[in-house]
Symmetry: C2
């Protein structure tokens, strides 16, 4: 591998000049041309470790998620990656695989080892000392889908969204409205769904309807889990409507209803959150939350923080869109 000295020799300039010319620092146009040519001829590429060691910049951003194989996270990832690649940054993925304890490992192994310039955490509750470590290291953090003290965030207004969804069902005349979302299990370490449960409860309360605890089910944010929850919810003394904390859960409920011989929306109304790729195929009424857009925004935020250090924490709320399809209707008076 050709190194910077080879390029310098070939271009007839000093090592320092090569470094500057290649990094867009002060250098005469003419020198720059010579250097570029020499570099190309030699097939020279900087050594990232040498460059990082000398400069302290890694050109790499970490992205931490509780799961990679969920639509929401994959979509966010896509948005983040698009922005980063475009700016020549690499993306290091930390997939916690649903095991919160992995977080400590990742911190010890990678983050503190300073192998990334910053961190984007999606639906993850970082511990205060982790945040402090990162700040002391001068590494910006942006959190998606959850707020962490003193950290920039990209979010949707989850409380509002879940109230909206619930109110939609109420306004159609439903009173037995169930909710499938995440409880404490994942919810605490991974900031997933508690706020949505609150929205459900508060909307019901304001409508003068008591939130029936027997109409709540916990579920992971995927289709099989939504299916289980749906089956259990619809087996006996069933609700006329379900507010699911995600489209994947909602689709699971729809499939459960189908398998139980229920007709949607006649026997059951279902509303989700996301606007998942499949939502349209199932006629699912939902609230779109554009995760890819959230990812792009988070990516831009962190790049901005990298460019000009110490920016104050920013907070961005992504807009949502209510999409009414055919999975919700007035309750059947006959039933």
């Amino acid at each position: 591998m050709a190194d910077i000295a080879d390029v310098a020799e070939r271009a007839g300039v000093s090592i320092a000049t090569v470094s500057r010319a290649l990094n867009g620092k002060s250098a005469s146009p003419e020198t720059r041309k010579k250097v570029r040519a020499a570099a190309k001829e030699l097939g020279y590429v900087v050594s990232s470790s040498a460059s990082s060691l000398a400069s302290g910049r890694m050109n790499n951003v970490g992205f931490m998620v509780p799961f990679v194989d969920r639509w929401f996270f994959t979509s966010v990832l896509k948005g983040v990656e698009a922005v980063l690649l475009d700016r020549g940054y690499d993306l290091t993925l930390y997939d916690l695989q649903g095991v919160d304890e992995q977080r400590g490992k990742v911190f010890a192994n990678s983050l503190r080892r300073a192998s990334v310039d910053g961190l984007i955490a999606a639906s993850i509750e970082l511990a205060p000392d982790e945040v402090r470590t990162l700040r002391d290291l001068g590494k910006p953090v942006v959190s998606i889908g959850g707020s962490i003290d003193g950290v920039s965030t990209v979010n949707v207004d989850n409380l509002r969204v879940s109230r909206l969804a619930t109110e939609h069902l109420i306004s159609l005349g439903h009173t037995r409205i169930a909710h499938v979302g995440s409880g404490s299990a994942l919810g605490s370490a991974f900031q997933l769904g508690d706020t949505r449960s609150e929205g459900w409860q508060s909307a019901l309360r304001e409508a003068g309807i008591a939130a029936d605890p027997s109409l709540f089910r916990e579920a992971d944010f995927d289709i099989p889990s939504g299916y289980q929850a749906g089956k259990s919810l619809l087996a006996y003394n069933r609700p006329t409507a379900i507010f699911a904390a995600s489209d994947e859960i909602a689709i699971g409920c729809l499939l459960a209803a189908r398998d139980l011989g229920l007709v949607v929306p006649r026997d059951l109304s279902v509303v989700g959150i996301d606007d998942h790729q499949l939502a349209g195929f199932f006629g699912l009424t939902t609230i779109a939350q554009f995760p890819e857009e959230q990812g792009r925004h988070a990516g831009q935020m962190i790049l901005a923080m990298l460019d000009q250090d110490d920016v104050d924490p920013q907070h961005h709320t992504t807009e949502t869109t209510f999409i009414v399809r055919s999975s919700t209707a007035r309750p059947d008076p006959a039933s």
Copy 2:
């Protein structure tokens, strides 16, 4: 940040000893204990760039995919990540986002910059000179879902699998058997589906059935695209069976059939490949190919190559399982 010298001083040993003690090289148990203690007290963590610069090891493996938001790739990713995290390796994600030209960029920006120790490429056709560059750099490569000259591979026997799927339909008595898969568009740069088309053709040929070109449709490997293809295939002069190159395509076809008022499997049989999470819900007959397992295997392969350099290219074929559900049956004699 405390550095290695601080630890050395505190432990009362030399810098070199600290390095060795912490890296599991020769060091007396007692020294090791002292050093560990000192490191912990100071909150010391190696600088990855310094360590990499000196050792040439990055502790990082690149993972390249044409898309992140497809079930297959997400599943593979999950498997790879599990193995790597477990061994303390980081994973750098290169998401080409369906744009093959991104590959060149990634090569220039990251791979040659030597920021990874090796590369796992899923369904990607690396150019010969790219492979050569990597080999010259001493960086192992493993390819998943496609074979590249002189590179280790993890694969399923795509030809066999697609023949199997087609033969299943033939054995049920179908003769108008359509295929939805990938054509040349993505197929060439991203090794996705051409082999599966071949399997379809050859199985038909051997059964003495002419593969009708009008019964072939190209599709991306996702549900919406499968839906489009299905709609177009089933609109007019329709086949009695469809072999889809992936479950997502197959599910798209199933949804298209549903929307056209067709009853599966009475009016139409559909078989896919994957055993996608949703396959069971749709009663889809399919051939399971365990992508997560493929990912784990690829991860182990590359770790092995990293441990003992210059191993000969290995080739691993993952087993598949035929799963018959309710989306396939004998053609309806009435139609």
